[in-house]
């Protein structure tokens, strides 16, 4: 039995908008194991983004327990939550979300800045990751000087910088052409092979083939086909 990195038990998340309550997640129970490559799929409003936000420690559950790599996120402080995000989770966004005022290298370093560590270590690690995504020559370029595919590679390198156990990728190919998207997916598969647990949130059914597990969501509930 592989180690369970994400353990969700009867997770409910409700949003209050005016007098109406909206149940974005309705008693979701889910276990994700180390080394899984999971696709979370479903139409808009199905609750997949909410699930992703909670797993990513950006949001807290209304009820139920969520244990990420041994930490119960319902009970920790804001600062601790930020630390968990920084150390254990690597985010990849649809729109890359690089900091436009920083060079590629600085962007990769950024999560290490928030977590701590010496400048020399950070620099070495960032350069190493830049090599890993094949962009060594682009270290001093700013995001605006890079193509979409290159930006997403930098974003992936950034997601890896604190060596997190979980990678959350939210439509990582959504803003890329098919060919570039394919390259990005291959990079994710490669990372998965290296042992990262990857959660992929997507609409694109075509991406299923890269994953080893698919979770479908609808109206705040999950249905899983093995």
């Amino acid at each position: 039995m592989k180690e369970c990195v994400i353990n969700i038990d009867s997770l409910t998340k409700t949003y209050q908008s005016g007098k109406n309550q909206f149940k974005a997640l309705n008693s979701v129970t889910l276990k994700i194991h180390a080394g899984d490559f999971v696709a979370i799929m479903g139409p808009s409003g199905s609750g997949k983004s909410t699930l992703m936000n909670i797993i990513g420690c950006l949001d807290r559950p209304t009820s139920g327990s969520v244990i990420i790599d041994g930490e119960n996120i319902s009970t920790v402080s804001d600062n601790e939550l930020a630390q968990i995000r920084g150390r254990k989770i690597g985010f990849i966004f649809q729109k890359f979300n690089l900091i436009p005022t920083m060079t590629a290298l600085k962007n990769i370093e950024l999560p290490m800045v928030f977590v701590g560590g010496t400048k020399a270590d950070r620099n070495r690690r960032a350069a190493e990751l830049l090599g890993k995504v094949g962009l060594t020559n682009w270290a001093t370029h700013r995001p605006s000087e890079l193509s979409g595919g290159q930006q997403q590679r930098i974003a992936i390198a950034r997601a890896l910088s604190n060596n997190p156990s979980i990678i959350l990728a939210d439509e990582p190919t959504g803003n890329l052409d098919t060919k570039t998207g394919e390259q990005i997916m291959k990079l994710l598969v490669f990372l998965n092979k290296e042992g990262k647990t990857i959660l992929l949130v997507t609409h694109a059914i075509a991406l299923k083939r890269y994953t080893n597990r698919v979770i479908n969501m609808l109206d705040g509930k999950i249905s899983e086909k093995k």
């Binding site: 950006l58 995000r85 979300n97 950024l110 999560p111 928030f114």
Partner: protein
């Protein structure tokens, strides 16, 4: 870590150069105007003080008028008798006393040739003793002092030129002075005063045109109805005095007032009930001038502070805009591990750097600006045609104000940045990431 965030703030500001620069301008102008106001104000104050230092610091003028906190000389009553002069001379803190009798003249006349006369409108003449020159800090350019009882006068440069600049009166010339009572007195010019180098504390009063001995020129008698006998008493409008030294000016003033207000003084008997005795010292005049200068300074400083406030509002405004614009970046940073404190610091650093930079640049601009303002003041003073005769205003920088201005710059940056930075730090990461 905090240094890294500081670096990030700097990077961000470099990326928004124009925005940063425009925001800076607000702070620069604010700080520069504070520096300019304080420097120009200080320079003018010390110039004014210097000007009045030329006047005898131990001298004082005694007269009648309105007393109280802001005494005013009226120079209308003739009350100080020879007896008062003697009594005041004997007060412990007094070195010298000189009575001043004002002799209004209708005309000044000069014989031109054998039968022809040239006449000019009269000047005010002071009948006094040579001590007047010492107390008013007047110096002779040529000639000698007059002797009591002789028909001798000392005249100013202006009066010397009264019959034309081309034929000025010389030492040894004889003129005729027609008093308002119609009596004409011969006078030999024995001395000519140096042009006064200071705008004197008493203005025209301490720059008399003609100074003469009491005898034979002054004859203001008045009938004193002491008892039933009408006495004829010589009395003066003003007395001039000098204290024994600079530390006894206040004592001298107190002693004089005490004597005059007592029943023992003749002046108290003769003066109008509604008037007070007034002693004006240089100290008092300096204080008055300082009051005027400081009032002006307070107003201008208030304006300068308002421009600082506007600078602060500028920072706050731009920081809000920046925070809103960078919402998604803030969300991203939170997602990759930034704590709320990190975000707060990031934006607070930016506004503080703007404040600090604005403070420093404002000091530089302010220093240059003050020099320019003082230069401008000097030019306009010269244009007044020597109203202020001596010297020019020196730019005197007050180092403490540069420090204060820099610190104020930093504080303004921090204060203006705190609310926008808090707004950034309090963002919900989920919402922030969704922001388009």
């Amino acid at each position: 870590m905090i240094l890294d965030i500081f670096g990030m703030a700097l990077e961000a500001m470099k990326s928004y150069k124009i925005r940063t620069f425009l925001t800076l301008i607000g702070v620069i102008i604010g700080v520069a105007s504070v520096i300019m106001v304080t420097t120009a104000g200080g320079s003018v104050s010390s110039f004014v003080a210097e000007q009045f230092n030329v006047f005898n610091p131990i001298g004082m003028v005694i007269g009648t008028g309105t007393g109280g906190d802001t005494p005013q000389l009226s120079m209308r009553s003739v009350v100080f008798t020879t007896n008062d002069v003697e009594k005041i001379q004997n007060l412990p803190s007094i070195k010298t006393v000189a009575p001043v009798g004002i002799v209004p003249l209708n005309k000044i006349l000069k014989r031109d040739g054998f039968l022809k006369w040239e006449s000019r409108p009269g000047e005010t003449m002071y009948a006094s003793t040579p001590a007047l020159l010492e107390i008013f800090n007047l110096e002779l350019e040529e000639g000698t002092l007059f002797e009591e009882g002789k028909n001798e006068v000392i005249i100013s440069k202006n009066v010397a030129e009264i019959f034309g600049q081309d034929k000025p009166l010389q030492v040894g010339d004889t003129i005729f002075l027609r008093r308002v009572d119609g009596k004409t007195l011969e006078a030999k010019v024995v001395g000519i005063l140096k042009e006064s180098t200071s705008s004197n504390m008493l203005g025209a009063m301490a720059n008399p045109g003609i100074i003469c001995p009491i005898k034979p020129y002054y004859s203001t008698y008045f009938g004193s109805n002491a008892g039933t006998v009408l006495k004829r008493v010589v009395a003066y409008t003003l007395l001039l005095a000098e204290a024994t030294d600079i530390n006894h000016v206040q004592d001298a003033q107190d002693q004089i007032l005490e004597y005059l207000d007592s029943g023992g003084s003749d002046a108290n008997q003769y003066k109008d009930q509604n008037t007070d005795f007034v002693v004006i010292t240089q100290q008092y005049i300096l204080v008055r001038i300082e009051q005027v200068v400081s009032v002006i300074r307070i107003y201008i400083t208030a304006i300068a502070l308002i421009s600082l406030l506007i600078g602060a509002i500028g920072i706050a405004n731009i920081m809000y805009a920046t925070v809103t614009e960078r919402t998604r970046e803030i969300g991203t940073m939170m997602a990759i591990g930034a704590k709320r404190r990190d975000i707060l610091q990031l934006f607070l650093f930016q506004s503080t750097i703007i404040g600090l930079l604005g403070g420093i640049l404002g000091c530089i601009l302010g220093a240059a600006g003050s020099w320019f303002v003082v230069d401008l003041l000097n030019r306009s003073v010269q244009n007044l045609g020597g109203v202020i005769a001596g010297g020019s205003i020196q730019t005197i920088y007050a180092p403490e104000w540069f420090l204060i201005a820099s610190i104020v710059g930093i504080l303004i940056g921090m204060a203006a940045g705190i609310l926008p930075a808090r707004r950034a730090a309090k963002m919900d990461p989920v919402e922030a990431l969704r922001y388009e």
